[in-house]
Symmetry: C2
Subunit: 434 residues, 2 copies
Amino acid sequence: MQVGIDAISAHIPPHYFPVRELAVLRQIDPDKLEKGLGLSAMSLVEPEQDATDLAAQALIALLQENPTVLPRVGRIYMGSESHVDGAKPTLSYALSKVETALGQPGCFNACDVVDMTFACIAGVDAMLSCVEYVRLNPDHCAIAVASDLAIYSEGSAGEYTQGAAAVAVLISANPRLLVMEKELGIGYAGVEDFHKPLQRFQRAALAQELGAALNPASDSAFWSSPKTQVWVHSIEPVFDGPYSNACYTERLQEALTRYENQCGESWLQRFDKMAFHLPYAFQGRRMGASLWLNALRPTAQWADLVAEIGPEPSQEEAKTEWEKKASKSQLYRQFVAQRMLGAERASSAMGNGYTASIFIALLGIMAQAITEQEELSGRAVGFLAYGSGSKGKVFRAVFQGDWKQSPAAQTLWTRLKERSPIDTETYLRWHRAR
Amino acid sequence: MQVGIDAISAHIPPHYFPVRELAVLRQIDPDKLEKGLGLSAMSLVEPEQDATDLAAQALIALLQENPTVLPRVGRIYMGSESHVDGAKPTLSYALSKVETALGQPGCFNACDVVDMTFACIAGVDAMLSCVEYVRLNPDHCAIAVASDLAIYSEGSAGEYTQGAAAVAVLISANPRLLVMEKELGIGYAGVEDFHKPLQRFQRAALAQELGAALNPASDSAFWSSPKTQVWVHSIEPVFDGPYSNACYTERLQEALTRYENQCGESWLQRFDKMAFHLPYAFQGRRMGASLWLNALRPTAQWADLVAEIGPEPSQEEAKTEWEKKASKSQLYRQFVAQRMLGAERASSAMGNGYTASIFIALLGIMAQAITEQEELSGRAVGFLAYGSGSKGKVFRAVFQGDWKQSPAAQTLWTRLKERSPIDTETYLRWHRAR
């Protein structure tokens, strides 16, 4: 029995901030962002909205487009790193909004519901749990949700990669869009490339951080007991970009190697399209170059690369130069254009959606194929998922005959075009109010 | 192929605070806590320790007791509501401590790792995900971890139910301890009986909460960008005890009904022992009375109850009185003693361990049977799991021939006896320093 993605819905926030205007604000060369990283716009959400609103929108769209499915849904799992509670699942807040919007209180009473957390990969973790559930319960369906807001400090190196998105993915037997295969390569290592630690502050120290003079005699509701410390949680991550890129590459190489050992075949042969987690649009092509070189070396195509840019030197420094040349070769550009273009285009227009990002990449691949009238039925997409902290997962899914019928893929470019830009003043006001 | 619990390890914190001393401190009648709720001691953890330390201890014990298993472990999932990070899984911090302690850096490189969140039920969610994984990958094993600290404000109604614990559960094919069955009853409803919401504070308002006067001219590292707001996360929950009890009962009744529909048999016949999630030791027997009455009504045993306490009146008020009498009947006391006694005894000695609590209940049942030389092989334990927010799950596992070989069960009472008490002054110092 085959299990996979039967339907997918995305919430695309109706506002965006042009990256070119952020470049002006921060006095960054716009070409560095547009041509270097592939950024053009970032999805922005009004400060009152959080991940529960985005998730609810994606779920409402999925359930309205598939109105008869709910009685068969036995599991709804969500990946996010924009949680709103330390105990009660963020998904449960979203589901309450969905019940109200659909006018169906209690409609999830028979569903298993949970939040999963592992930075940007938890949405994929949720989806794979849903696939396991349907493999074991083929009469039932499951829904994976990914919802996040990527918010960074003003002026930080992350600011131009901001974004927001949510997706809901319906998993079923005999799926209409994509069949998931069983091979799964994993790479895990505990590193601190990106995190959002709870910070413990002494009461006096926090007052100092606030620029305030502590008056220990005063007590209020929040300090109902004689607390001396408080935990403060920043929604903006602590991160090291270049180190995180290196971790991403290492985890993916480990996952790819394990994946190939299971399949007995190179991923190069197996992935017609590639859906990376894209913190910025060109992350896949930039990091992919070294993975591609490793995979290309034992193949006949290696001779084509050598014919184009000359033989690989043995000397270390020259080698680095040569690899840079390889990443700009005609052969690699072709590889990127064939396998990643739609994913990049969608990411470029929305920015980073953390857990939702890899699903937006998938929708971009589908939307681009519809635009170019490229037939995907029977062709395969490789998922290259990453979560900081850190874990990589690699697996494959095969497009089915009805893949073109996905409303989310059909309308993606139109919906992105219909959004409204916000100006710099609004951007700053929203950012500071969050 | 049969899948279930092959091994289980628990971390029992070496310190406890006697509930009788808390009663003195708070001027509560000690009998209300000891005889009314079944509380005798609360496990306490030094303020420098968090859920990652507890989880690491349980994992180290499991891997040292099962030294050859690691290469076959493909999944480690953790449930907790004491997370230390908003993006990177709390489990990954624990695993880094385990790698160091075992002197095996990178030993989890091939493992799928994730955090799950749904209040106290997320440890069960993690375990059931591990069971699904092994059903689909029977050559592999998986480990579920549950780790929590239950901390409540001084003087609050939750203070006397505090506790801390962590467990690690090894799931495999042909397990030595317990075979998990496939039937699973679920009840879900989005309610706010207990949660730990992130609270958004205006900078000035937080300063006021701190009893401090804000000086807006001052800025420091934490306020690196012109933030006006900050999120504050209390480790102490916001909750409504009686409402949460009602939600617990409703979710369990829903889950039990769905479970019985799948089995075609009453749970009364199916559960020789009952492992409840126990926020306090007598939660199971108190809430269980109404579930038991519902289940007993259609059986021949109903006549025994009527013979003992008289017939059930039809008038509403008299009915409530009669139900109270039923919960104190010889028949129900016998039921509790046979099915819950060990679970209550373990909970009574440790307090609430949130996600770990139901597994401590299971260990208590096993330890009590060892003490009483009761043979459990071939007998069944019902899991009655609850997470606020809210979700109930009901399923069954059958003890295997080697169930007595569990070191954690064999040593439970001894290890509880070997702990050191702390005095009231230390209790207050530790609580306030956290």
